[in-house]
């Protein structure tokens, strides 16, 4: 059992003006695959390094499996870590690299040999065990780094952007392999990445970080479908979520939002924002486009049409606001031509203009999702 409990963790680097990690609270359940996602400099790697014990904390507590490890060195935390640079020891063969941790534990030679061979086999490294890292490709070195971590049978597996140095195709292959490997390992896993596709595809839950704070922590689909802030919506998803400005109005007890002279029905939570602007968030795939005018649709103008193979990515303008939508490839979109948009009503999200926070269900519903 290795639940990881992070309480009020704060860290400011010497000479840093803002804290790199600011009062973060996070619980990672036993066996869970948690992804820390955020732009560079958001503190995700710092948080991971504090969990690993490679960085001191300024305040707060970290416990692994009910044991307070805040002040323990890495070797006493029962963790294994995969580094972004792989950190494979160049002066040792692949075999010795994988065996390193077992030898530090003073396991018997026969056990070391058996375990190393098994994990080398898992990562298809058998032909290379006698080689030195300099004789391996980047992808193979990466596999050595993973093998070296999983051979320890750690309770907690920490990974710091392990795929970011691989080329795109290799990354795609290895991502699926990694997911399967970690599922079989049953270790509690924390995975740091700035790649939202990786986060969505790998994580049981995603913690989105920005400026040292966790903004939202929920399942990949929830993060994607119900972003807690405008930032989350624009960081996750390709293309990012569309945001349009509209004004909340109330007539006869009904709340609605006007967007460039068109009226959208709005949920009752928006009532308190009556008379003010809000941001309307909608994903590109949740907007349907029509080539002909129909009563309820929003008239817009096509600006750019980009064929993506499976879809067309259309940039359209409503008044002076722009949004992107995906259409079928046979949609007759013409640059500068008119088109009519029908956003799916239950996929509309509402955000405060000044704070960027979502107006809608309570925060609880959001994190529990």
């Amino acid at each position: 059992m290795a639940e990881i409990l992070i309480q009020n963790i704060t860290k400011t680097y010497a000479g840093g003006k803002q804290p790199a990690v600011n009062d973060v609270n996070l619980t990672i359940r036993d066996g869970e695959f948690m992804v820390l996602l955020g732009p560079s400099g958001c503190g995700k790697t710092t948080l991971l390094r504090m969990i690993a014990g490679l960085e001191y904390t300024d305040a707060g507590q970290i416990s692994i499996g009910g044991r307070d490890v805040t002040d323990l060195p890495p070797r006493k935390r029962q963790i294994a870590m995969v580094f972004q640079s792989y950190a494979v020891f160049p002066h040792q063969t692949v075999f010795e690299n994988i065996a390193f941790g077992l030898r530090m534990r003073k396991e018997r030679d026969a056990d070391v040999k058996r375990k190393v061979e098994r994990s080398a086999a898992l990562l298809q490294l058998e032909p290379y065990v006698e080689r030195y890292p300099a004789q391996l490709s980047g992808g193979q070195r990466q596999r050595v780094a993973v093998a070296r971590a999983i051979v320890m049978e750690p309770k907690v597996l920490l990974m710091d952007e392990p795929l970011s140095n691989l080329d795109a195709l290799l990354r795609l292959h290895f991502r699926a392999d990694l997911k399967k490997l970690v599922q079989d390992l049953k270790a509690t896993t924390i995975y740091v990445t700035h790649d939202q596709v990786e986060a969505l595809s790998l994580g049981d839950r995603i913690a989105v970080m920005r400026q040292g704070e966790v903004i939202q922590c929920s399942s990949p689909m929830a993060v994607y479908d119900r972003p807690a802030t405008e930032f989350v919506g624009s960081f996750i998803g390709n293309p990012p979520m569309n945001f349009l400005r509209g004004r909340v109005e109330r007539t006869n007890g009904h709340v609605h939002v006007t967007l460039h002279e068109h009226v959208l029905t709005a949920p009752p939570e928006l009532a308190q924002h009556a008379g003010r602007d809000v941001l309307i968030g909608i994903r590109a795939e949740n907007i349907e486009a029509e080539a002909r005018e129909t009563p309820d649709n929003l008239p817009a103008r096509t600006e750019v049409v980009e064929p993506l193979g499976s879809h067309l990515l259309v940039t359209a303008a409503i008044g002076d606001q722009r949004l992107k939508l995906l259409t079928r490839t046979d949609f007759p979109a013409q640059p500068d031509g008119p088109l009519w948009l029908r956003p799916e009503p239950d996929k509309l999200r509402w955000f405060e203009v000044d704070t960027g926070r979502e107006i809608g269900p309570t925060p609880q519903q959001r994190t529990e999702a």
């Binding site: 010497a14 690993a52 014990g53 490679l54 060195p73 890495p74 070797r75 963790i79 294994a80 870590m81 580094f83 972004q84 640079s85 950190a87 020891f89 160049p90 002066h91 390193f100 941790g101 530090m104 534990r105 030195y132 300099a134 070296r148 320890m152 920490l158």
Partner: protein, 199 residues
């Protein structure tokens, strides 16, 4: 001969930890410390030798091996520190951290990972100090009298001054030999290590 070897080792033993500290830990005044280290080289040995001789006589170190060893180590230390620090910078910190997550103490990580990787560079630093000490004759002559404690070059030089000209040349050539052998031996080792470590 032995003097120069001792100097090479001693300055490495003293200099390498300082180099490691300079390479890894961002302490206050690190940059000015680097300059300060170099500043000892600013004093000509000619000026230093006489006060050194006086001090060594007072301490009872005069005319011992240690007199030369200490003086040469002091001279060699700045270069050793700077060279070793750049060697340690070349060993990624990730490797050390990886070793620590795999069960090493910080010293264990240094011993098992950093040191083997830095060894070729450290060997080069040792050669450098050896040659430095070998070439330095002035202080060695001033600080010693007896044949027991003089470095070989200082001794040979003193002897050759009283010899006919052909012996001068022969002696000069002979002096090159130990340096050459030492470097040839180390060089093979260096290339071997580097060929394996780097791509």
């Amino acid at each position: 001969m032995r003097n120069s070897l001792v100097v090479g080792l001693l300055s490495l033993v003293l200099g390498a930890p300082a180099g490691y500290a300079l390479a890894r830990f961002p302490f206050r005044g690190r940059d000015s410390f680097k300059v300060l280290i170099l500043s000892t080289r600013a004093f000509p040995i000619v000026i230093l030798s006489i006060p050194l001789a006086v001090t060594f006589i007072r301490w009872g170190l005069y005319d011992t091996i240690w007199a030369v060893v200490l003086a040469h180590t002091a001279l060699a230390l700045p270069t050793t520190i700077l060279v070793t620090s750049s060697i340690f910078v070349g060993v990624p910190k990730d490797l050390e951290e990886a070793a620590e997550t795999l069960g090493c103490t910080p010293f264990g990580a240094f011993w098992r990972v950093v040191l083997p990787l830095a060894l070729p560079g450290l060997a080069a630093a040792a050669i450098f100090t050896f040659v430095l000490s070998w070439n330095e004759v002035f202080a060695a002559t001033i600080l010693t009298i007896s044949t027991r404690s003089r470095t070989l070059p200082a001794l040979v030089l003193a002897q050759l001054n009283n010899s006919p000209l052909p012996f001068h040349f022969a002696g000069g050539f002979a002096l090159v030999v130990p340096s050459l052998i030492f470097i040839l031996l180390m060089r093979r080792y260096l290339l071997n290590m580097w060929g394996r470590v780097t791509k």
